[in-house]
C-alpha cells in the first residue's frame, strides 16, 4: 500500500512537472475541434441584431 502510494505520488508529481513545463493550464481554453474540452463558442449571448448583450442583471438585492 505504502509503495503503491509512493508510486502514485511520484507519478503525479512527474505529470504535474511535465504539464507545468509545457505551460499547460487545466482550465484554459482549448483550440476548436481539438478534444473533449475544445472551445466551441464564447458562451456570451447575442441579441437579434447580433450585438453582445448582458442577460444577467447584477445580483445585489
Amino acid at each position: 500500500m505504502t509503495k503503491l502510494y509512493a508510486l502514485l505520488a511520484a507519478g503525479s508529481i512527474g505529470f504535474m512537472g511535465y504539464q507545468d513545463w509545457r505551460g499547460a493550464s487545466m482550465f484554459g481554453t482549448r483550440p476548436q475541434g481539438e478534444g473533449l474540452f475544445a472551445s466551441k463558442s464564447s458562451g456570451l449571448m447575442r441579441g437579434p441584431d447580433g450585438r453582445l448583450i448582458r442577460t444577467r442583471p447584477y445580483n445585489h438585492k
Binding site: S12, I13, A24, S25, F27, P31, L44, Y58
Partner: protein
C-alpha cells in the same frame, strides 16, 4: 551460627566453642525449587554458595528465603515465591526510619531513598522448616512479619519486622537462569514419599496429577471440589463450585508452545469485571466474563493466558511500579514504553478448575488498574494483602491456535476450539493501521515539499512575459471601429505553452462590457474561442456601501505551439451608455498556473489522509472504552 542437620533435622546453635541443641524441625516440604543447598552460583559477577534456607508458609502457599554466602564473605538472601526470585542484601538504617508494619497497606506508595516504591506484599509468614546454615536461629512456627516493596526498574525492598528494630533489605528481581547455578556441589536430596490418597479428589476420587510443586489449591474438574494443597498433597476441601454453562475454549492438560517452550494448562479461572454503580443491585454493576488460563513449564514456572471477548494476552508477573506518566521496559519488549492509564475496575473470580499456586477463592473483589502501551498491558491487581503487577502481550487468535496445535501435536486437525474472532478492540490490541499511517505521514510531507519544489522550478524556468498589448475605447454602436479590435499579430516562440489575456476596463462603474475573443494561429488556422463579461456595480443601501464584480477579467488560451497569432475581440455594451469605455488588453505568455499543483497535492494528500484517518479511528474506538481517568490509582 545456626545450623540444621540435613539428615536428622536437629537444630544446633554455636556460641563460640559451645554447641547448643535446640531440638528438631520438620522436614523441608517438596516445592519444586530449582535451587538446592550447596549449589554454587553467580550474581552480578560475584560467586556465591547456597548455605541455608528458611521455608515459610503464608496464607496462600509456601515460599523460601535462601541464605547465600558470597566469596568475599558477604551474606545475602535470595527470596523465592510464585516462580519469582529476588536477590537482596541487608542495609543498616537508623532506628525509626522504617514505617510501622500496621501503617502500611498493599498498594500504598512509599518513598525509599527518594524513589517511589509501592507495597507489593504484606504478610506474616510462619517458618515451617529449614536446612543448612543460617545467621540466626529459627524454629517451627517462628513468625516473620514482612513487607515487600517494588520500585522503578525492578528495584526491590523488604522491611523485615521479625527484628527489633525492623531490618531493611535492598535488591532486585533476578532470573534464576541468570544465576549460573552449579548443581555439582549441591547436597543430595532425600527421597520423599507421597501418600496415594492425597493424589485423589477428596470428594469424588478423581485423580490429581500435580504439576507445579508449589501448588496451593486444586479445583477438581470432575466434581468442582476446590482443595487446599500443601507440598503436592491435597489437604482439605474448602469450596464446591458448579461448572459454568459455557465452557472455556482451552482445557486442562492442553499444551501450548510459546517462547519455544511447552506450557501446560494447569488451571482455569473465570472472572468478571465489576464496578460501583448506585443504580445496580447491591451497588455494584457487573461486566462481561473472561477466562484466565494458568500455564506451567517445569523450568520457567507460571504464565497466564487471558481470553476476553476473543482477544488473547500472554501474561507474566513483573516487578513493575508504574507511577503516573512513567515508562517501563517489559520482559521481551524491544524498547522502553510509555504506559497510559486505561481503566480501573474490580475483578471477581466466579469459577475455578485445576491447579493454582495460591489459595484461589471465588467471590473476592480485587482492585485492578490497567495501563496500556500496545501491544502491552501493564496491570496492577491489589487485594488486602498484596499488590501484583503483571505484563500482558497481545496475541491474536491465529497465534493461540497455532501455539496449541503445535504444542499438542494437533496441527491441522481442527481439535483446538477457540472462541470466535473478536469484533471489538482490546485495550492493548496493536493498531493494524498505525504503521501504515506513520509511514504515510512521513511520506506525505516529503511529497508535498517535492511537489511544491518541482512546481516552483518548472515555472521558474518557463519563459513568460507580455507579448502583445492594446488600449481601446469601446463604443455603444456596432461599428467595427468601436466594437471590434485586434491585438497582434504576435509571435509565440516556444514549442508549446499558453497565453493569458488580461482585460481591464478602467473606470467601469455600474456598467458592463462583454468581450468575445477569438485567437487564431495564422499559419495553421487553428482557432480558440472564448469570452467574458466585465461588470462592476456599486451603491449604498441600509447595510452601507456595496460593490459587485470587477473591472478586470482574464482569459486563458491553452495548447499553443510555436507560431504567429492574432487575437480578435468583439465587444458589446449597454446601448443606453454613451461615453466610450477604455479597455486595456495585455497578452502574457506562459502564465503560471496553480491548477496542476493543486490537483497533485490533492492526489498526494488523499491517500495519507485516509490512512491517518483510519489509524486515528482505530485509536478513537480503543480509547472510547477507557474510563478516562488520568491517574494510575483506582
Amino acid at each position: 551460627m545456626f545450623a540444621i542437620c540435613g539428615y536428622c533435622q536437629a537444630m544446633v546453635l554455636r556460641k563460640g566453642a559451645d554447641l547448643e541443641n535446640l531440638g528438631k524441625i520438620s522436614e523441608i516440604m517438596e516445592d519444586g525449587s530449582p535451587i538446592r543447598l550447596g549449589m554454587g552460583g553467580k550474581f552480578k559477577g560475584r560467586d556465591f554458595q547456597v548455605a541455608g534456607r528458611i521455608q515459610l508458609r503464608w496464607s496462600d502457599g509456601i515460599w523460601n528465603e535462601w541464605y547465600l554466602l558470597y566469596a568475599d564473605g558477604t551474606p545475602g538472601w535470595l527470596g523465592e515465591g510464585s516462580g519469582m526470585f529476588f536477590a537482596t542484601f541487608q542495609r543498616e538504617v537508623p532506628p525509626g526510619i522504617i514505617p510501622a508494619f500496621d501503617s502500611l497497606a498493599a498498594g500504598q506508595e512509599v518513598t525509599v531513598s527518594g524513589k517511589p516504591f509501592s507495597v507489593s506484599w504484606k504478610e506474616t509468614s510462619r517458618c515451617v522448616s529449614g536446612e543448612g546454615e543460617l545467621p540466626f536461629a529459627v524454629a517451627e512456627g517462628w513468625e516473620s512479619p514482612s513487607i515487600d516493596l517494588i520500585g522503578p526498574d525492578g528495584a526491590f525492598v523488604t522491611f523485615d519486622y521479625s527484628d527489633d528494630p525492623p531490618s531493611l533489605y535492598v535488591g532486585e528481581e533476578v532470573k534464576v537462569e541468570s544465576l549460573a547455578l552449579d548443581a555439582s556441589t549441591a547436597a543430595p536430596q532425600k527421597a520423599r514419599k507421597v501418600a496415594a490418597e492425597s493424589l485423589s479428589c477428596l470428594s469424588c476420587g478423581a485423580p490429581y496429577n500435580p504439576h507445579g510443586k508449589d501448588a496451593a489449591s486444586w479445583g477438581c474438574p470432575t466434581c468442582g471440589a476446590v482443595h487446599e494443597v500443601l507440598a503436592g498433597r491435597l489437604q482439605k476441601i474448602y469450596a464446591n463450585l458448579e461448572p459454568p454453562d459455557i465452557r472455556p475454549g482451552l482445557e486442562l492438560g492442553m499444551v501450548g508452545r510459546f517462547e519455544e517452550l511447552d506450557w501446560t494448562v494447569v488451571g482455569i479461572q473465570r472472572r468478571k469485571s465489576t464496578w460501583q454503580d448506585s443504580d445496580a443491585a447491591g451497588g455494584w454493576a457487573t461486566g462481561s466474563d473472561w477466562d484466565e488460563y494458568l500455564l506451567w513449564n517445569e523450568q520457567n514456572g507460571y504464565r497466564w493466558l487471558v481470553e476476553s471477548d476473543g482477544h488473547w494476552n500472554w501474561i507474566r508477573t513483573v516487578p513493575a511500579n508504574l507511577a503516573k506518566g512513567q515508562t517501563a521496559v517489559l520482559p521481551g519488549a524491544p524498547r522502553r514504553s510509555e504506559f497510559k492509564h486505561f481503566s480501573s475496575y474490580h475483578a471477581v473470580t466466579t469459577w475455578v478448575v485445576g491447579e493454582f499456586y495460591w489459595r484461589v477463592k471465588t467471590g473476592d473483589r480485587n482492585s485492578v488498574v490497567d495501563h496500556v502501551s500496545p501491544p502491552w498491558v501493564l496491570t496492577r491487581e491489589t487485594d488486602d494483602r498484596e499488590s501484583i503487577w503483571s505484563a500482558g502481550l497481545y496475541m491474536d487468535r491465529a497465534q493461540i491456535l497455532s501455539a496449541f496445535e503445535r504444542g499438542s501435536g494437533l496441527v491441522g486437525k481442527g481439535k483446538v476450539k477457540l472462541p470466535p474472532p473478536p469484533n471489538t478492540i482490546a485495550a492493548n490490541q496493536p493498531n493494524p493501521f498505525a504503521a501504515q499511517g506513520k509511514a504515510m505521514r512521513s511520506l506525505l510531507w516529503k511529497f508535498v515539499v517535492a511537489a511544491i519544489l518541482v512546481h516552483i522550478l518548472t515555472t521558474l524556468f518557463l519563459p513568460s512575459g507580455v507579448v502583445a498589448k492594446g488600449d481601446f475605447l469601446v463604443g455603444t454602436d456596432t461599428s467595427a471601429a468601436s466594437s471590434r479590435f485586434a491585438v497582434g499579430p504576435f509571435a509565440f516562440e516556444h514549442d508549446r505553452g499558453n497565453v493569458e489575456v488580461i482585460l481591464e476596463a478602467a473606470g467601469l462603474d455600474n456598467d458592463w462590457v462583454a468581450v468575445d475573443a477569438v485567437l487564431t494561429d495564422r499559419a495553421t488556422g487553428r482557432t480558440w474561442t472564448t469570452g467574458k463579461e466585465i461588470s462592476r456595480y456599486s451603491g449604498y443601501d441600509s447595510d452601507g456601501s456595496w460593490t459587485e464584480g470587477s473591472r478586470e477579467a482574464t482569459l486563458r488560451f491553452d495548447g499553443l505551439e510555436r507560431g504567429e497569432y492574432l487575437l480578435e475581440l468583439e465587444t458589446g455594451r449597454d446601448p443606453s451608455k454613451t461615453a466610450p469605455q477604455p479597455l486595456s488588453v495585455k497578452v502574457r505568455r506562459n502564465a503560471s498556473t496553480l491548477s496542476w499543483l493543486l490537483l497533485t497535492l490533492l492526489v498526494v494528500c488523499a491517500v495519507p489522509v485516509f490512512a491517518i484517518w483510519r489509524s486515528m479511528g482505530f485509536e478513537s474506538r480503543r480509547w472510547a472504552q477507557s474510563d478516562g481517568a488520568s491517574g494510575d490509582d483506582e
